[in-house]
């Protein structure tokens, strides 16, 4: 457990990281470092996007699967790692 905490804290303190959210398979955030409204918004939207991306990859090749998703915008970058039950979202500001 403490390893898990440590790992998460390590990511959180990485340079430029704005926040980190863990979402379960239903799209409900389990753990977050941002405020509630932002978390809920990110969780819902990114979850849907990840599902879509995953289904896209699997449609093209059913034996393939989505491992990592990076969404870069003008202001920051959103990184998503999907799993069977959980989803980890990290928001980073790369220019800093």
């Amino acid at each position: 457990m403490s390893e898990v905490e440590e790992t998460i804290k390590r990511i959180q303190s990485h340079k430029g990281v704005l926040g980190i959210i863990v979402v379960n398979s239903e799209g409900i955030p389990i753990r977050t470092s941002l405020d509630n409204s932002t978390t809920v918004q990110y969780a819902g939207l990114i979850h849907q996007l990840t599902m879509k991306a995953r289904s896209t990859v699997r449609d093209i090749d059913p034996q393939n699967d989505l491992t990592f998703l990076r969404l870069r915008s003008k202001k920051h970058e959103i990184m998503v790692a999907p799993d069977k039950e959980y989803l980890l979202i990290v928001i980073q500001n790369p220019s800093e």
């Binding site: 409900i28 990592f68 069977k84 039950e85 220019s95």
Partner: protein, 883 residues
């Protein structure tokens, strides 16, 4: 006369064969009656005389006349005269005719001979019936027999006898009863005459629709979503904890974290999307030719009539209309000269000239003020309002709504069209520039006592209430003005209409008005005196400031006399959501609030937009800074707040005082003519005064971030560049404009360019369009120069903002370092001092005599020194100079 047909046989019998016995000349033949009768008997029906048999029998005479009628005059070839007269007439017609003719001839002859006609009345003759009486006689009713008379009588005694009635059956067996058949029964019987079998019956049929009333009402029960309100699903804390402690979670984290680390590190190592190519070209332009980095003269404005030999005190660009700027001109006289020339000055108008690029010779508009205008500003939200401060301390408002369309639309039409006017008497008629008089001026007793040196509009996202606390501004329009004057006061004015006149002893009556409503009412208002807008009529001559703050010096007595102020809040900067940093307002005006009596505890009414909102309704804004900077006439930079705090110590009834300025320093040798915040960093200020300029950071009280060396010439104007955070412009007394770039070098300007021969009074850069950045430079002789900023001076280098920020941070660190060093050194010094004192303690053990001798020796040496100095000054001539 009856026509008669005679056949040939008959003619032979009677010897009247045509053309033998009877001719035309002799048509008549007499036939005996007896012959005719015999003929008729013999021949009966065959006889020609059969039809006239009766006539013949009735004929009285013996002979009948038959005449031959060849012309069939009477219808047959013969005719028979039935009467004697006719017979006679025919037999002797000639005679009668002859007689008649003769008679007529005689009569005619007689008539001709006699002129007089003798009237002979017709003689009455006997009625000769022609047969018409038969009809008449038929119609006459004549008794055919005599009338019969009857007489009936009854025995007299039977009259009036009682009557006895009996019944009797009136049937057919009346004979059995022995009665005569006098009673006839009249049984009723079906008289077939009157029974008509109806074979046809007329029946009328009308087809009428049956009307039925029916109705139904349907219920629309189909549900439609009106609104949806949803909440995100959230799991509870315990569930979250349980989930986080599960095995899968652990594995998931361990599996995905390495990917993240890879990605995060990639981002920090290098920005993959950074386009080097586009950035590459930016640095080449620095090597351009000199003209490219020069401020190019674009246009210059001067008016021979209004601005010649005057000094331009203030320049401001129109916030919305491109290419329009306003210039305030003042006489170049000292105070004494003003008093001497007061009469002349009264006659010459004090004007703000509004210029447009379209016409460099004639100003578009003139705004007239009560006295020379030292500073003015367009209202940022409503550029039709101009607020200006006068040299006599009054605050003036102009409303140029009427001419705003003219300003924006009329470009270049004025000069040509109006010059075509025919000149009268050979004189040139200048096209008339419209002059607008001020529409509101503040009350003299409540205004500044000395010149208003700076005026500015408070940003529209907040407003100040009576206590200097910033509250929410609902209008989102600039409605408050802050002014500072050299009398040591900073005042805040409100341009809205007053609330209901109240029994106030206070001087602070807030005036509210809603611009748009009033200006619309203005358009339909009755004609105005002097053509002046009536929007601010409520303010005219009775305008009092909302807040009045006096600046008392912190360390010594007296007031600061502020020249410039700088507010922290920027117009248009509304981001106060979560920030809690305080912005500092540069207000020239804020200082101590000591003597102005407070309002008698009245609360403004709660009304709509047109009045000052009630203090209760106003939400005080926490994150608005109430501090501001001031630059004074003595070269001081002061930092103070206008928020009134409750003063419990003095126990005054109003209980409110102004806090003293928290910090003041005098870095400049002359009056501060510019105090301005960097448009990119709101806590960095530039202050220009005397021969130096300084860059400050708010909060760093130990010193300026950068203080320049003394320049050879006096600095008279300054302004940050609007596009490059490290660049600012300075103007000097000899008409030079210096461009300083803090990133380039800080000991000398990047560019020095001479713009005018006279002193530069104001520099105001402005972004007209993306490709054209202009700077307005005004000078002491009334000319306004517009220069174009070259590309390298207006285009920020890449990362300039960060570089400048870094520069400032480094400077602040340097200051802090030196502060610390100073502290350290002070400590060291104090330690040395202690040591010295310890040494000196030993010295004091010497005898007093020795001390006295020591003192004397010192005194002697001093005396000699004094002599020497006096000799040098030439005050003592004891020792004659050796020849």
């Amino acid at each position: 006369i009856v026509p008669l047909f005679m056949a040939t046989k008959s003619q032979e019998i009677y010897e009247c064969i045509c053309d033998e016995h009877v001719t035309e000349d002799n048509p008549y033949k007499l036939i005996k009656k007896a012959d005719i009768i015999q003929d008729m008997k013999m021949r009966a029906a065959i006889s020609d005389f059969h039809p006239v048999k009766q006539l013949v029998l009735d004929y009285p005479g013996e002979e009948l006349l038959i005449a031959y009628d060849p012309d069939f005059k009477f219808g047959q070839n013969f005719f028979l005269c039935t009467t004697e007269e006719a017979k006679m007439e025919h037999l002797h017609p000639g005679g009668a005719d002859a007689e008649g003719e003769d008679g007529a001839g005689e009569e005619g002859a007689e008539e001709e001979d006699n002129a007089v006609y003798v009237y002979k009345p017709p003689e009455a003759k006997e009625w000769v019936t022609q047969g018409s009486q038969v009809e008449v006689e038929d119609e006459i009713v004549v008794d055919t027999r005599d009338k019969i008379r009857f007489r009936a009588s009854r025995v007299r005694k039977e009259f009036g006898a009682p009557i006895i009635f009996e019944d009797r059956d009136a049937d057919t067996s009346a004979a059995e009863q022995g009665l005569a058949a006098s009673c006839l029964a009249c049984p009723s019987y079906a008289d077939t005459n009157f029974t008509i079998k109806k074979a046809e019956l007329d029946n009328a049929v009308q087809a009428v629709p049956e009307l039925t009333d029916g109705s139904s009402q349907t219920d629309w029960k189909h549900p439609v979503t009106a609104s949806v309100q949803y909440e995100p699903r959230i799991i509870s804390e315990e569930e979250a904890k349980v989930a986080q402690q599960s095995e899968e979670f652990k594995q998931f984290i361990q599996a995905s974290v390495p990917r993240f680390e890879l990605a995060l590190q990639q981002n920090t190592i290098m920005d993959v999307f950074f386009d080097d190519w586009t950035v590459l070209g930016e640095e080449d332009t620095n090597f351009g030719s000199k003209s490219d980095s020069h401020l190019k003269e674009y246009q210059s404005f001067t008016d021979l009539q209004y601005s010649k030999d005057k000094t331009v005190t203030c320049v401001d660009w129109h916030p919305q209309i491109k290419g329009v700027m306003a210039v305030a001109c003042c006489e170049r006289l000292t105070f004494d000269e003003r008093i001497d020339n007061a009469n002349k000055l009264l006659m010459s108008p004090s004007l703000i000239l509004i210029w447009s690029f379209a016409d460099p010779i004639h100003p578009q508009l003139l705004l007239e003020g009560p006295d020379d205008i030292c500073c003015f500003k367009f209202c940022p939200t409503n550029p039709n309002i101009v607020a200006g401060g006068c040299i006599n301390g009054q605050l003036v408002l102009w409303d140029i709504t009427e001419y705003s369309e003219k300003l924006s639309s009329n470009r270049g039409n004025n000069s040509k069209a109006s010059q075509k006017k025919a000149a009268m008497f050979g004189e040139e008629i200048q096209p008339e520039t419209p002059t607008i008089r001020y529409c509101a001026v503040s009350a003299i007793e409540n205004s500044h006592r000395n010149i208003i040196s700076s005026v500015d509009w408070l940003p529209d996202h907040y407003e100040l209430n009576r206590f200097g606390i910033p509250v929410e501004n609902r209008l989102s329009e600039c409605c408050q003005i802050m002014t500072c004057g050299t009398d040591g006061h900073v005042m805040v004015w409100d341009i809205r209409a007053p609330k209901a006149p109240a029994n106030t002893k206070d001087q602070q009556i807030v005036f509210c008005c809603s611009f748009s409503a009033d200006i619309q009412a203005e358009k339909s208002a009755p004609p105005r005196p002097f053509g002046v807008s009536q929007v601010f009529k409520h303010l005219d001559l009775s305008w009092k400031p909302l807040l009045k703050l006096s600046m008392a010096k912190t360390d010594s007595s007296g007031d600061y006399s502020p020249l410039k102020f700088s507010l922290a809040e920027k117009q248009g900067a509304r981001d106060h959501g979560g920030k809690t940093d305080l912005f500092y307002l540069y207000a020239v005006l804020v200082f101590q609030f000591t003597t102005v009596p407070q309002p008698a505890g009245e609360k403004p009414e709660t009304t709509g937009m047109s009045k000052v909102p009630s203090a209760k309704n106003q939400r005080p804004l926490e994150c608005i800074a109430t501090n501001y900077f001031l630059g004074s006439e003595d070269g001081e930079v002061i930092y103070a707040s206008f928020k009134l705090e409750k003063d419990n110590e003095t126990g005054k009834s109003n209980g409110i005082t102004l806090p003293k300025p928290t910090w003041a320093v005098a870095p400049h040798d002359g009056p501060v003519n510019t105090l301005q915040r960097n448009p990119f960093f709101s806590d960095i200020l530039l202050s220009v005064g005397g021969w130096t300029f300084a860059v400050w950071k708010e909060g760093v009280t130990s010193g300026a971030i950068l203080q320049s060396a003394c320049a050879p010439k006096l600095y008279t104007a300054g302004h940050w560049s609007t596009t490059r955070p490290a660049v600012f412009f300075l103007g000097t007394k000899d008409g030079n404009v210096e461009v300083w770039d803090l990133l380039d070098r800080t000991h000398e300007p990047l560019l020095v360019q001479n713009v005018t021969a006279a002193q530069v009074t104001q520099i105001v850069p402005w972004v007209v369009s993306k490709k054209q950045h202009l700077v307005a430079v005004s000078d002491n002789v009334g000319t306004l120069h517009i220069l174009e900023i070259p590309w390298n001076l207006r285009h920020p280098a890449s990362g300039e903002k960060q570089a400048v920020e870094g520069f400032f941070d480094r400077e602040i660190q340097r200051i802090e370092y030196f502060d610390k060093k100073a502290v350290v050194r002070a400590n060291e010094r104090s330690k040395e001092m202690d040591k010295k004192k310890a040494q000196q303690a030993k010295v004091e053990e010497m005898t007093d005599d020795a001390l006295m001798e020591e003192y004397k020796a010192e005194y002697d040496s001093y005396k000699q020194l004094e002599k020497k100095l006096l000799q040098q000054l030439g005050l003592i001539e004891e020792e004659k100079p050796e020849i």
